[in-house]
Symmetry: C4
Subunit: 277 residues, 4 copies
C-alpha cells in the first residue's frame, strides 16, 4: 500500500520531478499520485469514523491502530515532500492547506505521549478538507464553479433572507415562551427560539412540541409561514442559476476589433466598439 515515489530517478532533478508529481495533475505520475492520495484520505477518514464506534474499537482496535499509523506515515512523508519541493516552505507551512496537512498528522504523534487525548484525535477528521485540493483533478470543477458563482452572486440576498428569518424566529420563540408552559419544553427563550427554528425550517424533531390549543394554533401559523418563505431562497438561487446558464448560452463570438465577448445571438455590431461582427 506504500509507494516508493521517485526511487529510480537521478538525484539532480528529483526535486523538480517530485514537485511535478505532488503539485501538478497533468502528468501520468501526478494523476496517479492524486488518485492514491484521494483514496488514502477517504480510507483514513473512514478509519477515524469507525474508531469512534464502541464495539468496532473493542473488536478491531489493533487493526485500526495499524491502518491509522500506515496512513499517518504516508501523510507525514507527503508533508515532508511538500516542504522539500516547494519554493517557499514557510509560506506553504502557514498557508490554509499547510495547516490542514499538519493537523492531519499531528494528533497521531501527540497520541503517543498522551494516551487519553480522544477528542484531540478527532482533529484527524480534518483530513477530509484535504480532499478539496485533490478534487481539482476531477472534471466536476467546471460545474462546481458554476454552482458557487450562482451562490456567490445571490449571497447578499440570502444574507438578507437569513437575517429576516433570525428576526422572525426570535419574535416567534418569545411569543411561544409566553404562551406555552415550561412543562411542554418551552423552558426558556433560547430553547423556544430553538423550537421556532426546528419548526420554521420544517425539520420538526418533536422533542419540543406545543400542547395547548393556542400554542398549536401559533405553531400552525409558524409552519405555514415557513412553508411559504422556503420559496424565497429557492427563487433567488433558481434565478441566479438560470441567469448563469443564459450568460453561458449567449454567443461566444469575440469582436475582431476590440476582442470582447458577451454579444447577443442576433447582434450584428459589437456593442462596445461598433465594429461589424
Amino acid at each position: 500500500m506504500k509507494e516508493n515515489q521517485g526511487s529510480d530517478i537521478t538525484p539532480v532533478h528529483w526535486k523538480e520531478r517530485l514537485h511535478e508529481i505532488i503539485f501538478e495533475a497533468d502528468t501520468k505520475a501526478g494523476k496517479r499520485f492524486d488518485i492514491f492520495i484521494f483514496w488514502a484520505i477517504i480510507i483514513s477518514v473512514v478509519v477515524v469514523m469507525l474508531e469512534s464506534v464502541d464495539h468496532i474499537r473493542q473488536e478491531h482496535g489493533k487493526l485500526l491502530f495499524v491502518v491509522e499509523w500506515i496512513f499517518t506515515i504516508i501523510f507525514t512523508l507527503e508533508y515532508i515532500a511538500r516542504i522539500l519541493t516547494v519554493n517557499r516552505p514557510l509560506k506553504y507551512v502557514f498557508s490554509f492547506f499547510g495547516i490542514v496537512d499538519l493537523l492531519s498528522i499531528l494528533p497521531a504523534f501527540i497520541g503517543l505521549y498522551h494516551t487519553q487525548s480522544a477528542s484531540l484525535r478527532i482533529i484527524r477528521i480534518l483530513r477530509l478538507m484535504r480532499i478539496f485540493r485533490v478534487l481539482k483533478l476531477f472534471a466536476f470543477s467546471k460545474q462546481a464553479r458554476a454552482l458557487s458563482n450562482a451562490l456567490a452572486s445571490s449571497w447578499q440576498k440570502i444574507t438578507v433572507f437569513l437575517m429576516s428569518v433570525l428576526l422572525i424566529v426570535v419574535i416567534l420563540g418569545t411569543i411561544m415562551y409566553i404562551i406555552e408552559t415550561p412543562e411542554s419544553g418551552f423552558t426558556s427563550i433560547p430553547r423556544s427560539i430553538y423550537w421556532a427554528i426546528v419548526t420554521l425550517t420544517t425539520v420538526g424533531y418533536g422533542d419540543i412540541t406545543p400542547v395547548s390549543a393556542l400554542g398549536q394554533t401559533v405553531a400552525s401559523l409558524v409552519m405555514i409561514l415557513g412553508y411559504a418563505i422556503i420559496a424565497v431562497p429557492t427563487g433567488i438561487v433558481s434565478a441566479e442559476v438560470i441567469r448563469g446558464s443564459e450568460i453561458k448560452r449567449t454567443n461566444t463570438q469575440a469582436c475582431k476589433s476590440c476582442s470582447r465577448e458577451g454579444h447577443a445571438d442576433d447582434a450584428k455590431f459589437c456593442r462596445f466598439c461598433g465594429e461589424m461582427l
Copy 2:
C-alpha cells in the same frame, strides 16, 4: 459604555445637531450613533433571552440586572432625545416606532413597583423591532427591497395558495378525525387539522401520528400531496425574482438611428445598426 452625546456643542444648535445624529445616518457621528444603538439593541435582547434561562438567572441575576438597567437608561435617554429634537413630538410618540421605543423601556420601570411582572418584562424583546430602523444604515437595503418587491408582487398568488392549503387542511383533518381513534392523538377536529398542517408542511413532529392502516394510507397521500404542492409557492416566487432581475437587466434605451431597444447596460453601440448610443 455610556456616551455623553453632544456635551461639547453650543446650546444654540444642539437641537439640530442632535436631530442629525439620531435621525440621519449620513454624517460620521450619525453613523457611529446608529452602530452604537445597533449593538445596544442586540446585547439588551440577548440579556432578555438569558434572563429567561433559569440557571443563568440564578447565578448571574445581579449582573444581568445591572446590564439591563444600563441599557434601559441609554434607551430612555435616546427616547427623551428623540422627543426633544423631533418637530412634532406627539406624532412621533404615537407612531409605530414611537410606541415600540416606549414599550422597550416601560417594562423595566413598571418592574420597580410590581416585582412579579415576569411576562410583562418580556415585552422588552420588542426592542428587536427597533433594529429595522437602524438597518437602513446598511448596504443590504437594496437587496431587501428587491426581495420584498418580489414578495409583494406575488402576494395575491400566495394568498390564494394559502387559502387553498387551509381548505385542504380542514378537509383532510376532518377525514383523519373520522378514520383514526382518539387514542392515537386525533381527539378533536382542530387537533386533527393541527396534525394535517404539521404533515402537509413536512414538519412532522411525530406528537400525533396515525396508527391504523387506513390512517397511514391517508397520511401517505397527504405527504405526497404536500410534497407536490410545496412546488407552487416556490414556483411563484422564483418567477417573480427572475422577472424582477430581468426587468432590472433590460435597458430601456432606444437607438437614435434604428430606434430599436433591448441593449445591454454596458452597450456603447447599437447591436443592430452599429450607431453610437
Copy 3:
C-alpha cells in the same frame, strides 16, 4: 342573524328577483347575500369543529346546538329557495353543488331521530365545499386561475413524477423491511412503505426509525435522494408559472385584420395573416 329575503316584493317578479340575489353577484343585494352566506358557512364550520372538542361540547353544548340549528334552518331555506327559483330543479338537485347543499343540512335532520349518529354529523363539514361557489365573488379568482392553469399544464409531468416516487417508495420500503428487524417498527412491507414515504417527503415523524447501522445508512441515502428529487416538481411548476407570466406579459396588441393576439413585442407584422401591425 336571519334575513327575511324578499318579503317586500310583489309576487309577480319575486322568483326572478330571488334568482338574481341567490345566483348572481352583480347586484348589491346579490353581493350582500353572498357575503352573508360566506360568513354563515365559516361560522357553521367552526361550530362543527368546536363540537368535536370534548370539553367545549360538555360546557357549551346547548349553545352550539342552538347555533347549529339556526344555520341549518338558514341553509335549508337557501336550499328550498334555490330549488324554487332555478329553471330545472332536478338538474340542480343532482348537480355537484346540489348534493353538497343537501349533505350540508341532511345530517342535522337525521340527528333528530338517530341521536347516536356522531360520525354522520361530521358530514356537515362538507359545507366548506360550498365556499368555492361563493369565492367567485372575490377578486382573487384571476390569480387562482393563473395558478390552476400552471398546475393544469404541468399535471402530466407531476403525474409521471408521482408515479416514479411511488415506484421508488415501494422498492425502498421493501429493502428496509428486509434490512430492519420488526422490533424497530418495520413490521410489514406496507408499513415500511409508509416509512419510506414519511422519509422521502422529509416529513419525518419519527414513529418508525431505523436502528441498525445498515438501516441508518440506507435511510440516509433515502433522505438525500428525497432532498434531491424534491427539486423536480418545484422545477416543473416554476417553469410553468414563468411561462404563464411570460405569455401574459407579451403584447396585448390585436391584429386589425384578423383580430388575433399574442404577438411578440418586436413584431411588425401579424404572424397569422401577414397584416402590418
Copy 4:
C-alpha cells in the same frame, strides 16, 4: 383470470403472432396483453405486500397462496412464450429484463422445497421492475423523457451538490459528536453523521436530538444551512426544466425573405417582414 393466448391460430404463424402480441403494443391484441400484464404485476405485488402483514397472512394465508400461484403460472407461461418467440433466446435470458422476469417466478418454485425461505420470497417484489416495460404503452412517455432529460443534463451539477452535502455532513456530524454527550444519542461519528443528514435534509425524526445549549445552537445553524442549500438542487432543476421548455418552444424556421428566425410555432407569416413562412 387466465387467457389462452393464441389457441385459435394456425400453427404456421403462431410464433410470429405471439411475438407481436407479447413484444409490440401497436395491435389490439398486443395492447390488451400489455394491459393484462400491467394489472397482473400490480395485483401480484400487492399480494406480496399483504403477505408480509402478520394478521393478513394468518387469516387469508390460503387465499394469498392460491392467488400467488395463479400469477406465478401466468408469469411462467409468459416467460416461456418470450423465450420461444424471441429470435435470440439466450440474449433475452441474460438481458436486464430477462433476469428480472426469471427472478419474478423463481422464488415461488424454490419455496416448494425450502419452506423457510421468507426473505427469498420477497425477491418477487422485483416484479415491479417489469412495469417499466409495460409503461411504454402509455402516453406519459413523452413527459417522462422531458423530465429525465432535465435530470440528465443537470446530473453533473447535482453530483457536485451531493458531494458538497456529504462533506458538510461529515464535518458537522464530527463536530456534534465532540459537543454532545453519548447519552443524547451521539454515540459515534457515523451515528452523528446520520443525525446530520436527518437534520440537513429537514427530515427530523427526533430519534437523536441535541440536549445541551451548545448542541442546540449548532443544530440550529445546521437547520438554517439546510434550509438555504435546499434551494440549490431546486434552482438547478428549475433552470433545466425552463431551458428544456424554451428550446422546445423556439422555432428554428427562418424567413425566406429576411432570413430571420425566432418565429412562434403557429406563425404563418414572418413577424419582421410579413413574408409568408
